[in-house]
Amino acid sequence: MKAKVFVTLKPGVLDPQGKAIEHALGGLGFEGVNEVRQGKVIELDLAAKDRAAAEAEVEAMCKKLLANTVIENYAIEIDG
């Protein structure tokens, strides 16, 4: 079973990289970009066969390591 974890900075947490991308897009002529926030995607290939078990396991991984919940939110997508 495959899972994807999307880790993003919480609203209100400064994202200097997102800001730099926003400025660069403006410089390239892409107007109308109100805001850019950068995050990361983590892809997991899991041995779990059961969807609910996989989801619970990934949730625990997020809390323990994959995201720092002081500054980041996470979303889990299970495939299959």
Partner: protein, 231 residues
Amino acid sequence: MKSAVILFPGTNREKDMLDAIERASGVRPDLIWHRETSLAGYDLIVVPGGFSYGDYLRCGAMAGNSPIMRAVKAEAERGVAVLGVCNGFQILTETGLLPGALLRNAGLKFICKYTHLKAERCAAPFTQTLTPGQVTEVAVAHNEGNYFADQATLDELEGEGRVVFRYCDADGAVSAETNLNGSQRNIAGVVNARGNVLGMMPHPEDATDAALGKTEGLPLFESLAHALAPA
């Protein structure tokens, strides 16, 4: 004072830390590899700077979950003094020993320069040799030193007098201009509620040898040596 300096793959500031502690206390600390699981018997544990585990995932995230950090956490909970500098501060926030997190510098650049620091909390074991408002000049060298915590946590830190250092100018004025990395409220160092765990981004260990130009970091180590000397 019996002290330990923790070494992770990617740590690179341990030697100046060993020298600084030896200079202040007369006793060279033990260098402890990250795979060790016990830190019993130490008066001081230091997590030095560097790029532990290549800063993979987030600065300090891998180190924060390593076996040795479970031992550091256990000793900290017993009241043993723990100092984290730079990457060490990032690691201590990742383990939950200190509140908040260190984000990418607001200016997106690695900052390597001298900066002024204003001492606010001047108490044992870390800063009893400083006086409140005292300004020292030490080096910073980091890419993720932008201290972040939510407003409630920041208010709690301020209310409990747990902000130890703030970035300031030569006269001690704290302002947006002296906030070199975008830290909330110019915070450069904080302690835990019990006061035995200090994390700071600047490097006091780099300023402990007159031959290298500065000794303004020495009082912190002298404070530790004094506070933790055998009775």
